[in-house]
């Protein structure tokens, strides 16, 4: 890092620490709860963004139907949970159904467009419109919310704040677990190694004799499944309805832009940054909280256009 960039970083960190100290002294409750809210929001964003960035990193496919997959996972998970009265089954259904759909999409549609990034993006846009309308048709306009078990639906005492939603903490734990599993999968398994190799140099992966199509199909399935998982898990905390898909897609984009395309760790960092900025914004400046997240994105882009951990394009 060049000398003056280092000074910028130090100045930024010092400023943040100073402001945080003031905020804690001023109203510790507000500060701690905002921080916690930010981190738990980051958990959801990570689940969303990890799938998105995985698919892009390997296959250069900007899946703008990611939000629709989120919503679909939520609806399908709700149906299964409602019929069987077992929440966990609903979660599994949300994950598996979108995973299978992702697999099918890759094998039947995207395989024939390998290398045509723009065309794939257009197809995902068309898919998102079609999926959104089908879901509106089948599920109507009402709000749906999943019903997690009583055990995790209450609140727990947390230092400084007396009551914090247990479910949000469970979500945080799940996101961390998913992150660890993903890391293990990518870093320690053969398939993961192939995926990482493909992200770095897809042509060489093909040249080395691996059946790239299977790797692609698996990756897309995982990415889509993660979107559905995020949908069904978040559906226990926030109601979902038509229109959620575009909201959620926006956050996935923001996190991935900030964190860097193709990097899971970048997705984690990006989600924490965006989650915390948004949570603090909602409490300290509610009117423009969303605009602040964009300002954060623009600030990151001004210094690193490829994102924090993105590879230089």
């Amino acid at each position: 890092m060049r000398g003056w960039t280092l000074w910028w970083w130090i100045a930024a960190v010092v400023a943040m620490v100073a402001v945080s100290a003031w905020a804690i002294a001023n109203n510790p409750f507000k500060f701690v709860s905002s921080l916690l809210n930010g981190i738990t929001a980051a958990a959801l964003y990570f689940l969303l963004a990890s799938g998105f960035t995985l698919v892009f990193g390997l296959m250069r496919n900007v899946n703008l139907a990611h939000g629709s997959l989120y919503l679909l996972g939520g609806y399908l998970g709700w149906i299964v949970a409602d019929r069987t009265d077992v929440w966990l089954l609903g979660v599994a259904a949300g994950f598996l159904s979108t995973g299978i759909l992702g697999l099918l999409l890759q094998v039947t549609v995207f395989r024939w467009m390998q290398g045509e990034d723009m065309r794939q993006t257009m197809v995902t846009i068309g898919l998102s419109i079609v999926l959104a309308d089908i879901m509106l048709w089948v599920f109507g306009g009402l709000a749906y919310q999943l019903d997690p078990p009583r055990l995790i639906s209450t609140s727990v005492p947390v230092p400084v704040i007396n009551n914090y939603s247990t479910y949000k903490l469970v979500l945080l734990a799940v996101a961390v677990a998913v992150g660890v599993l993903l890391w293990f999968f990518l870093a320690r398994t053969r398939v993961g190694m192939m995926i990482r190799a493909g992200v770095d140099d897809r042509a060489m992966l093909q040249a080395s004799g691996t059946n790239v199509q299977i790797v692609f199909a698996l990756t897309f399935a995982i990415g889509a499944g993660l979107a559905g998982l995020a949908g069904v898990l978040n559906g226990g905390e926030e109601a979902f309805k038509p229109g959620e898909d575009t909201n959620v897609l926006l956050f996935a984009l923001l996190v991935v832009i900030v964190g860097g395309m193709g990097s899971i760790v970048g997705a984690a960092i990006g989600s924490v940054l965006i989650g915390v900025v948004q949570a603090f914004g909602l409490v300290y400046a509610p009117t423009y909280s969303i605009v602040f997240t964009f300002v954060a994105m623009a600030a990151v882009l001004a210094f690193r256009p490829q994102g924090i951990l993105g590879a230089k394009a």
Binding site: F29, K30, S33, S34, N37, T40, A41, W78, D82, L136, G140, G141, L142, A143, Y144, Q145, L146, D147, S153, T154, S155, I161, N162, N163, Y164, S165, T166, Y167, K168, E237, E238, A239, F240, K241, P242, G243, N247, Q278, A279, L282, V283, P286, T287, S289, I290
Partner: protein, 415 residues
Amino acid sequence: MKVRATQLVGGLFALALAASTATGALAQEIKIGLLATLEGPFAAGGQDGMRGAELAVKAHNGMVAGKKITVIKASSDAKPDVAVAAVRKLVEQDKVDVMVGPLSGSEGIAVKNYSKSQPNITFINGSSGAQQTTLQDPSPNFFRFNTDGAQWMVGLGDYALKKGYKKMALIAEDYSFPYSQVHGFMVGYCKAGGRITHKAWVPLGAKDYASVIAALPKDVDALLVVLGGSDAVNFLTQYERAGGDKPLVGGTITVDQTVLNFRGRRREALVGTPTAGPMADNLDTPEWKKFVADYKANFKDGFPSPSLFAFLYYINMKATLEGLEAVKGDLSDGQKKYREALAKLVLKSPAGEIRLDDNRQAIGTTFITEVAKGPDGVFFNKVVATVPNVNQYLGMAKADFDKQGLGSRDVPNCP
């Protein structure tokens, strides 16, 4: 090649023209355009609104003044420019005689402005409830037979004080409809000595209320929650999870049928929440009971009880048809006689009598209700008080009302 290009273009146009003009206008037919939001965040309300309007047409057996009623439907997604485009198509292309709609507040203002450019067509509201539509720059051919968002909350302030809620905190969405609702509440509440010490205006569609909940003051007696649809559902879930225990007072769409029937766990904590609006689920009048029975009989896929949107579209369509009956379907001379009949119409709605004021805005009854749970486990709103003859000036003198201005983030204020 040139020939094929023009053939292609010509074919496309022919298709479009054929599709649009295929419904030839019959002489013995009255065409009514119907606009509701069938996409986007208000989709559920729009679907029910269409049901309400269809119910009104069915109650007339599809005929009015001896002519067949043809309803041409259009959809918008709560965006004013989309609404105006849809209305323009219905009026200028499909040549409807009367236009009923739209659903949401800002669409209503846009349609009202459009109506000024079509002086020979009569426009009747669907369910939009923005104060400005008839208070600012009203249009001579735009009629609203439903009370506006502020009128819906008149009397709730006094009721809240009666329940002992002297200090309240407000959580509401940050746009015009909640402004009117809060305006209607606070006019009575502040005058009678109540205080709202904390106002939290959240962005529309915000899902994360954790921060807002964390910032709520601890020393208030109750919360005034003016959120709609899924925002209300999210807030209630998160408030409960955060251990919140203050009693709530709800806005008109905070605990209406679309929220009470959402697909998730029923909230026992909601029982007893007071709210106010132009209707109540358990009104004891024969007209209301018939309305509910007809709704249930005709729409197996509808709600257990008609929602607010169904009711509002129903009364507006009913007024449309009764006005047509009164002039025996005479829409000649720029529909002048029809509009005069509408202005004088006293509508016997299922929830009381409705008259129009000088701005063609409804004067009607507001019902104070509380959420109750029926023996079959279904939640509904039961009447606890009635406020008759609520006008758009909310019981104030016109001069005072104008001085205070329309509801906004800071108006009115009584911290």
